[in-house]
C-alpha cells in the first residue's frame, strides 16, 4: 500500500477481517504470527538448501530471480527454496513474518525500512559478506546498506531513479530547453501553459506520488543532510526550511495537471504519452506506460533542477531493492554464500536480463545491454553524491502513511494552510517517534 511501485493495487481486506479489526484489533496482532508460522519451511534444516522469502510476486521479477537462483545452484551446489508471497501481503505481514519462523533470506528495501528491522534485532548483520562484495558497489550504495549501528544488513540488487520525464519530440517541436535551475523550470512551465500544454502531469489518488515531489524540492533546497534529519524525525517540520519547501511547491502547483486527487499515476502518465503534458516527475517505471516502441524511444528525462547552488543536483532519489538475512537463519553458511553471489555483478546482470525495467545497484555490472534510458538512469545513480530512497522508505512507514499521506493531500487541496498543517504534522510526528 505504501510502496511506490507500479501496478499494485491494495488488496481489500475482507469484511470478516475488518469486523475483527473493529471488535478485536488484537486478533490481528496475535493471529497473524500463528498463520505465518505455518508458512515457514522445514526444508531449511539441511545444509544443501537456503530458503528465501520473496515479495517478487509479479511474473517478470519472479522469473528473473528464479534464473539467478538456478545459476547459483550450478555454481555452488546449493538449492534456493523460494517462498513467494503477494507483494502487498508480504509488506503488510512483514512484522509478524519476521517474528515467526521466517525464511533464511528475505527480499526487502534499503534505507530506514531496513534499519527499522535491524534495530528491532529481526535481522542478522552481514559484515563478513560485505568484506568480499564491498568493491562492487559505489559509496552511496554502501551507505544505504548499513544499519544505525554501522553494521551492514542489506545486499542491494536493483534500483531506479526518480526524475523529470519528457518527450524529446515535444521539446523539439516547441524549442524547449531542459531546465537546470528553478527559475528556468518555472519559466518553462509558463511557456508550456501558453502553448496549451499541461506543464506537469500529476496524479495523487494513491497518495504516494506527492511524496516524490516533496522529496525532490526538499533535498534540492535544503540538502541531503537536512532531508535525512527530517525523515528520521530529528529535524522539526515547523522549521522555516520546511516552510520554504512548501512555498516552492506552491509556486509550482498551478502548473500541475487539474484534478490530480482523483487520478492514478498511470492515467497521469497517459497524458505524457498523448503529448498533452510537457513533463512528469516520477520513477523510471513511468516507461511501462509507453507500450508503443516509438513512443518509448521518444521518452527522456532530466534530473530535477537545482534550487540551491550549495547542493546543486548532487542527490538522486533511487529506491533500492535487495536482500536481508532473518534473525536466526537455519543455514548460516549457505546464506553467506548466497548473498556473496547475489552481490556480484554477474548475478545482477543475469537478473536484469530477465527484468529490464530497473538498473543494477552494483557499479561493476555490465551496462552494454542497457537501453538508452537505462544507461542514463545508471549513470545518474552512479554519479550521485548521495542517494535517498523515497519518503516512505526513508522514514517510519506508520508516520508516512497515517500522517504524511493525508497531510500532503491536504496541502495540495489548500496550499495556503501550510502553517497550521506543519504544526499538526510536527505534533503527530513527536507522538509517533516517541513510541519507538
Amino acid at each position: 500500500m505504501h510502496l511506490p511501485l507500479p501496478g499494485l493495487s491494495a488488496p481489500t481486506p475482507s469484511r470478516r477481517t475488518l469486523l475483527r479489526g473493529i471488535g478485536g484489533a488484537a486478533a490481528l496482532g496475535a493471529g497473524i504470527p500463528l498463520l505465518s508460522a505455518c508458512g515457514g519451511s522445514d526444508a531449511a534444516s539441511d545444509s544443501k538448501t537456503v530458503t528465501v522469502g520473496s515479495n517478487a510476486s509479479d511474473a517478470v521479477p519472479k522469473k528473473a530471480f528464479a534464473d539467478v537462483y538456478a545459476a547459483f545452484k550450478k555454481q555452488s551446489g546449493l538449492t534456493v527454496d523460494v517462498n513467494t508471497k503477494d507483494h502487498n501481503t508480504f509488506q503488510e505481514q512483514i512484522n509478524s513474518y519476521l517474528q515467526g519462523t521466517p525464511d533464511d533470506v528475505f527480499n526487502w528495501f534499503a534505507g530506514y525500512r531496513m534499519q527499522f528491522f535491524a534495530a528491532k534485532k529481526l535481522a542478522t548483520p552481514i559484515d563478513d559478506v560485505w568484506a568480499k562484495i564491498g568493491d562492487n558497489f559505489p559509496d552511496a550504495m554502501k551507505k544505504l546498506s548499513k544499519g544505525e549501528d554501522g553494521k551492514y544488513y542489506f545486499v542491494p540488487m536493483t534500483t531506479y531513479p526518480w526524475a523529470v520525464f519528457y518527450r524529446k519530440s515535444v521539446f523539439q517541436q516547441y524549442g524547449y530547453k531542459v531546465p537546470t535551475t528553478w527559475d528556468e523550470l518555472v519559466a518553462l512551465c509558463k511557456q508550456m501553459k501558453k502553448d496549451k500544454l499541461v506543464p506537469i502531469a500529476f496524479g495523487d489518488k494513491d497518495a504516494w506520488p506527492a511524496m516524490g515531489t516533496f522529496d525532490q524540492i526538499n533535498f534540492r533546497l535544503n540538502g541531503y543532510d537536512f532531508h535525512v534529519q527530517l525523515m528520521a524525525g530529528k529535524a522539526s517540520w515547523t522549521d522555516a526550511k520546511v516552510k520554504a519547501t512548501f512555498d516552492h511547491w506552491a509556486e509550482l502547483l498551478p502548473y500541475h495537471q487539474d484534478g490530480f486527487m482523483g487520478r492514478t499515476w498511470q492515467d497521469a502518465a497517459q497524458t505524457l504519452v498523448a503529448k498533452k503534458a510537457g513533463m512528469y516527475l516520477l520513477g523510471t517505471f513511468v516507461a511501462q506506460q509507453f507500450t508503443n516502441k516509438d513512443d518509448l524511444d521518444d521518452l527522456d528525462f532530466f534530473p530535477f533542477p537545482e534550487i540551491n547552488s550549495a547542493y546543486g543536483q548532487d542527490t538522486v532519489e533511487a529506491p533500492t531493492d535487495g536482500l536481508m538475512v532473518s534473525k536466526a537463519p537455519k543455514n548460516h553458511a549457505g546464506v553467506l554464500k548466497l548473498l556473496e553471489y547475489m552481490g556480484s555483478p554477474a548475478a545482477e546482470e543475469l537478473y536484469l536480463k530477465g527484468d529490464p525495467s530497473v538498473v543494477a545497484a552494483s557499479s561493476k555490472a555490465d551496462t552494454s545491454a542497457y537501453s538508452a534510458l537505462q544507461k542514463k538512469a545508471f549513470d545518474m545513480i552512479g554519479g550521485a553524491k548521495t542517494l535517498t530512497q523515497f519518503m516512505d522508505r526513508d522514514s517510519r512507514p506508520d508516520f508516512t502513511s497515517t500522517v504524511m499521506q493525508p497531510g500532503l493531500q491536504k496541502f495540495l487541496q489548500n496550499p495556503k494552510g501550510v502553517d497550521s498543517l506543519l504544526s499538526s504534522i510536527e505534533r503527530q510526528k513527536k507522538q509517533i517517534f516517541a513510541t519507538a
Binding site: G21, G24, A26, A27, G29, Q99, G262, R263, S401, T435
Partner: protein, 326 residues
C-alpha cells in the same frame, strides 16, 4: 456490531457441562429424563465448541483490543507493549486531523441512508406490492446491487466517476483544463459521490425488507379501510405504515449498522483520502501494515465500539423486554 452472535451467547453459555456423576442416580427414578448420556455429550459438544470459539474469537479479542487501546505497541514482541493510559485517546481527540471528519462522515452516512434510499425503497416496495406487471423484473433489477459486493460496486462506480475517462465527465465534457470536475478527489464532492453509490445499493436492500413486511400485512386490513372509504394515501398513512412498525425497527438497525461499518466502498474508491475519512478506515490504516500503531488503532476501534454499543444496547434491551412480555 455483532448483534446476532451477541444475543446467542447467553443461551450458549447456560448449557450445563456434561453432568456425568449424577446421571445414573437420576436415570433410575423413571422416564422423566429424556436425554441419554450420549445426547447430553453431543449437546455439550455442539454448544460448547461454538461457545469456546465465540468467546475466544469475539469476546477475548474485543477485550484485548480494549486493553490495547491504553498502550502503544508496534506489534513486534509482547515486550514492546507499553502502558500509556489515556494518551491514545487524547491524541485522537486533540491532534488527529482525520478523526473528527471521520466521525462526521459516519454520521452523514447514516443521515443520508435513512433520508434518501430508505423512503425510496419503501416507495418501490409499495408499488411492487400492488402486483403490477413485470413486478418480478423490477424487483430483480432493484435488488441486484445488493447481491454484488461493495468492493465491486466501488470499482464499477470508479469507472463512472473517473475524472479523465469516466462516464459523467466524458458526457458533460468536464475533463478539460479550466472546467474540471474531480469527483473522486475534490473533498467537497467525493463523499457525496460515494454516497450515491451506497444509496444505489441501499435502496434495493430497503425495498426487499419492506416488501417482506408488506406481504405480511393481513389483506382484511386493506379491505376494511377500503370499505371505510379511505383513499390510497390515507390507507397507507393510517393503516399500512403503522403496521410496518416491526419492519421499521429492523430497517433502522440495519441502516445504523451499515453506516457504522461503511468501509469497502470508500476503501476501493479512494482509500478514505481527503473528504471521505471513515472511522473503520482509520482503524485499518493504523493497524495493518509493516510498522503498525496497534495501540492507537485499537483506541479508534474502541471509539467505534462505544458508538455501536450506544446504538445496539437500547435496541437489545427493547427487544428482550418485548420477548419477556409475550
Amino acid at each position: 456490531m455483532n448483534t446476532e452472535t451477541t444475543t446467542k451467547s447467553p443461551e450458549a453459555a447456560s448449557v450445563p457441562p456434561p453432568g456425568a456423576a449424577s446421571a445414573p442416580k437420576r436415570a433410575a427414578r423413571g422416564h422423566r429424563r429424556l436425554l441419554t448420556r450420549r445426547d447430553r455429550f453431543t449437546l455439550a459438544l455442539m454448544a460448547g465448541v461454538p461457545t469456546v470459539l465465540h468467546v475466544a474469537l469475539v469476546w477475548a479479542t474485543a477485550l484485548a483490543s480494549i486493553a490495547l487501546a491504553f498502550t502503544t505497541w508496534d506489534g513486534i514482541g509482547f515486550g514492546s507493549i507499553k502502558w500509556v493510559g489515556l494518551q491514545n485517546f487524547h491524541q485522537l481527540f486533540a491532534d488527529n486531523p482525520q478523526f473528527w471528519p471521520a466521525v462526521q462522515h459516519n454520521v452523514i452516512w447514516f443521515v443520508v441512508l435513512i433520508l434518501i434510499p430508505t423512503p425510496f425503497g419503501l416507495f418501490l416496495a409499495v408499488q411492487l406490492d400492488k402486483n403490477i406487471r413485470f413486478s418480478r423484473v423490477y424487483q430483480t433489477a432493484f435488488f441486484l446491487p445488493v447481491v454484488i459486493s461493495m468492493a465491486c460496486i466501488g470499482f464499477v462506480w470508479q469507472l463512472v466517476y473517473n475524472p479523465d475517462t469516466g462516464l459523467i465527465n466524458s458526457l458533460i465534457g468536464a475533463n478539460k483544463p479550466g472546467h474540471y470536475i474531480d469527483w473522486i478527489g475534490d473533498p467537497k464532492l467525493n463523499l457525496w459521490a460515494v454516497l450515491v453509490a451506497a444509496s444505489w445499493r441501499h435502496t434495493g436492500y430497503m425495498m426487499i425488507l419492506y416488501l417482506a413486511g408488506l406481504k405480511g400485512i393481513d389483506p382484511s386490513l386493506r379491505e376494511a379501510s377500503a370499505l371505510d372509504g379511505a383513499n390510497e394515501w390515507q390507507t397507507f398513512k393510517h393503516v399500512i405504515f403503522p403496521t410496518l412498525r416491526p419492519t421499521n425497527t429492523v430497517v433502522l438497525v440495519v441502516t445504523i449498522i451499515e453506516s457504522l461499518r461503511a468501509f469497502d466502498l470508500v476503501f476501493v474508491f479512494n482509500k478514505g483520502a481527503q473528504g471521505t475519512e471513515l472511522l473503520s478506515i482509520l482503524v485499518t490504516n493504523n493497524i495493518i501494515g509493516e510498522s503498525s500503531r496497534i495501540g492507537y488503532g485499537s483506541a479508534i476501534a474502541v471509539v467505534l465500539l462505544v458508538i455501536s454499543l450506544v446504538v445496539i444496547i437500547p435496541y437489545l434491551v427493547a427487544t428482550f423486554r418485548k420477548e419477556r412480555r409475550s
